[in-house]
């Protein structure tokens, strides 16, 4: 107990230090956060490969997900849900949608992509969104509920409980609690046709490429999630172009946190240079003011020397209010 308290105190001091350094230097002392890294401290990012050519739209994954996380259990025998495209919500971490394409009906599972360099994590000011070393992005209750993660996420995944007085951010956590026990995510386990494959991201990309090469007619030559927004743990294969099955194909390949990097890099520069500049200008204007005062003084003594004693006295009494008029006559 004692030792944990001590660690807590040490942690607190450490974070206080980081906080102060972060504030004074303007928030960016660790640019390594912006570099692409898939392997953190010896652990590889885990991920899921979704082969949409295999998915039959049984929605067992929705059921398994809801059961595993204590969410309202959906009725998966009800096919009417496919009538319109659904989004994940604060009570549904994953949904399966049906798209009608030139190649027939295609079912696509949707959930958090678990980006390698997540926008939500870098946007969060209290680290309530956290990227685990195994890949999952999880939410912590020290969240303030500011919802900037929702503004920042390129896939619009974090969902907020608007109708709660103690709202949480709800989103897929890649079954982080199961991963810690060495189990695979609930959705993957529940899939009857192996449309979902769990593994390290590296293995999954190799597997996806193998499928594309061995059956070239069956897939478009693209793994969605390999490069989008810097890569993600969820990877998708498809037989039609991805924009036909609800994916944003206008996203850039660079990591999202890089978008705010130029501003963050300029912060320490401004924080150091601005005050120095302001002090400099202030000093210069002070000198100018002094010189002005000196000039006034010389001018006034010049006036004094030209005036009669009465006018001089008047000038002194009125603070030289009428100096021009009074000397004008002389």
């Amino acid at each position: 107990m004692d030792s944990t308290n001590q660690t807590k105190r040490r942690d607190f001091l450490k974070w206080l230090g980081v906080g102060i350094a972060g504030v004074t230097s303007g928030g960016l002392l660790s640019p390594k956060k912006l570099e692409a890294k898939e392997i953190a401290e010896g652990k590889e990012f885990m991920g899921v490969l979704v082969d949409t050519t295999l998915c039959i739209g049984c929605r067992n994954c929705e059921l398994a997900c809801a059961t595993a996380h204590g969410l309202p259990v959906p009725d998966i025998s009800d096919n009417s849900v496919f009538a319109k495209i659904r989004n994940t919500s604060d009570t549904q971490w994953t949904v399966v949608n049906r798209y009608t394409t030139e190649q027939g009906e295609i079912f696509v599972k949707k959930q958090c992509m678990h980006c390698n360099q997540p926008a939500c994590v870098s946007a969060c000011l209290v680290k309530a969104m956290e990227k685990k070393q195994d890949g999952p992005i999880v939410w912590n209750p020290n969240c303030m509920g500011c919802r900037i993660c929702m503004v920042s996420c390129p896939f619009d995944i974090p969902k907020f409980e608007y109708h709660s007085a103690a709202p949480k951010i709800q989103k897929c956590n890649l079954c982080w609690e199961r991963l810690q026990k060495g189990e695979v995510p609930a959705c993957v386990e529940s899939c009857p046709v192996e449309a979902l494959v769990f593994g390290t991201r590296r293995e999954l990309i190799a597997e996806a490429n193998r499928r594309i090469y061995t059956r070239p007619g069956q897939y478009v030559q693209h793994i969605y999630g390999e490069h989008e927004v810097g890569g993600s743990s969820y990877l998708y294969l498809s037989k039609v172009p991805f924009d036909q099955i609800g994916f944003r194909t206008d996203l850039e390949t660079g990591a999202y946190p890089k978008l705010s990097a130029p501003f963050l890099y300029s912060v320490p520069v401004i924080l150091l240079l601005w005050p120095a500049f302001l002090v400099g200008v202030n000093t210069l204007t002070k000198r100018k003011e002094k010189i002005n005062q000196k000039e006034v003084k010389t001018y006034r003594s010049f006036l004094d020397s030209k005036c009669t004693p009465e006018v001089e006295e008047f000038n002194h009494a009125t603070g030289y209010a009428g100096e021009i008029i009074m000397t004008g006559g002389k």
Binding site: G26, P154, S164, L278
Partner: protein, 404 residues
């Protein structure tokens, strides 16, 4: 000897307390048209705030999963902070450049800026779903130092402290604490330098919050230069607010102003108008550069493109010319009209980023339109700020020059 000093001090303290209690009583007519309109709104707002805290954001706002930020962020915080920009601009002119011309309005401007931060940035509290965690970025043990919002949060807090120090000599003067006033006066320059630096960063930082909303904000508004645009526009937004507020104060608090303040009013307003025209020209120039650089002109011929042109030409270019014309001819009315148009333009600009050009591609049924409760709460925050401003101006030496 010692006992006498202590007795004297306690007597002093008692006097100050009695003075404050006396000052707390209302001094003006209570049944004015402004009070009759604003009091019920503030009251209703207070009730709705309780409803929001008990029932959650969904019960009071029209926010959705698609629109996480509504007018409490887009108007209260984004616009309120831009309007408060006059404080840092004028402290720069008066304390750094030492322009005596603008000295008569500096106290009112700082007060306005400070209150704007307290009330409008304070509106964040209502918008936070988990408001009890509001101290986490300051006192927590997990700091998101890579987060733009982390920087903005810290800067809001520090700037409020800096603005309070800038204003504190007035309070000391009001209480008749000459010695303390001297000490506080010596802190003002430091606070000013710190305050200008913080303002530069968090005015632009508010824009940087949208950097990762790429693809959600219409390309005519989304650019990597959003932070620069927010900073530059905060200068003329702040100055326009000073003109607007100054013109109203000049009428309403005429008797509270000293001769110097009243007689310099015209010249000050003209000077501020000139400043606005210059900064707006720079802003327009930047906007055109960004438009050409982004090759987005083909988008101008669309509904959103027309909306963009209304904002840029109607709300920036035209008031810029009006400011220029007003300053040339010395016509106050032109300057005042220009100030009002630019303020509306800033409201539209900030709402574009957070609400209107945000997810412009969604069908109308899924778009965000604020609920009446959001509007009432916003209005009550504005009115409450005006009440506090009026209370302070009626009592403290804000509009009259200090007796140094």
């Amino acid at each position: 000897m010692n006992a006498a000093v202590i007795a004297n001090e306690t007597q002093n303290f008692k006097n100050i307390l009695r003075f404050i209690i006396n000052e707390l009583k209302p001094k003006e007519k209570i049944l004015t048209p402004f009070n009759i309109i604003s009091a019920p709104i503030i009251l209703l707002g207070a009730i709705l705030i309780i409803l929001r805290l008990v029932k959650g954001l969904g019960a009071t706002t029209n926010l959705s999963q698609e629109y996480p930020w509504g007018i409490w962020i887009g108007f209260d915080v984004m616009v309120g902070v831009a309007f408060a920009g006059g404080a840092y601009v004028l402290t720069f002119v008066v304390y750094i450049l030492r322009s005596e011309k603008y000295h008569p309005i500096i106290r009112a401007t700082i007060l306005n800026g400070f209150l704007a931060y307290v009330f409008y940035a304070g509106a964040i509290f209502l918008d936070l779903g988990r408001w009890w965690n509001i101290t986490n970025p300051i006192l927590g043990n997990k700091f998101g130092v890579n987060s733009v919002l982390f920087l903005v949060a810290w800067h809001f807090l520090l700037y409020m402290i800096a603005a309070f120090i800038e204003f504190s000599p007035v309070i000391a003067e009001w209480l008749g604490l000459e010695k303390i006033k001297k000490i506080l006066n010596s802190l003002v320059l430091g606070a000013v330098i710190f305050g200008i630096t913080l303002s530069t960063l968090h005015q632009s930082g508010l824009g940087a919050l949208f950097m990762m909303a790429k693809g959600k904000i219409h390309p005519l508004w989304y650019t990597e230069f959003i932070p620069v645009l927010f900073f530059v526009s905060s200068i003329f937004a702040g100055l326009s607010m000073v003109i607007f507020e100054g013109s109203i104060s000049h009428r309403v608090f005429h008797d509270k102003m000293d001769y110097e303040h009243r007689s310099s009013h015209h010249g000050i307003m003209i000077g501020l108008g000139k400043g606005c025209a210059l900064v707006m020209f720079v802003y327009l120039f930047l906007k055109v550069l960004i438009l050409i650089h982004g090759k987005h002109w083909t988008l101008l011929n669309s509904p959103m493109g027309n909306w963009y042109l209304i904002e840029i030409i109607g709300m920036v270019a035209i008031p810029c010319l009006l400011f220029l014309q007003g300053a040339r001819q010395g016509k106050l009315i032109l300057i005042q009209i220009a100030a009002i148009i630019s303020l509306v333009g800033i409201i539209i600009n900030r709402l574009n980023y957070s609400v209107i050009a945000y997810k412009w591609y969604l069908p109308f049924s899924e778009r965000y339109i604020p609920s009446w409760m959001e509007i009432v709460i916003t209005l009550s925050i504005v009115f409450a700020e005006i009440w506090v401003f009026r209370w302070i101006v009626s009592r403290m030496p804000v509009l009259s020059k200090s007796h140094e």
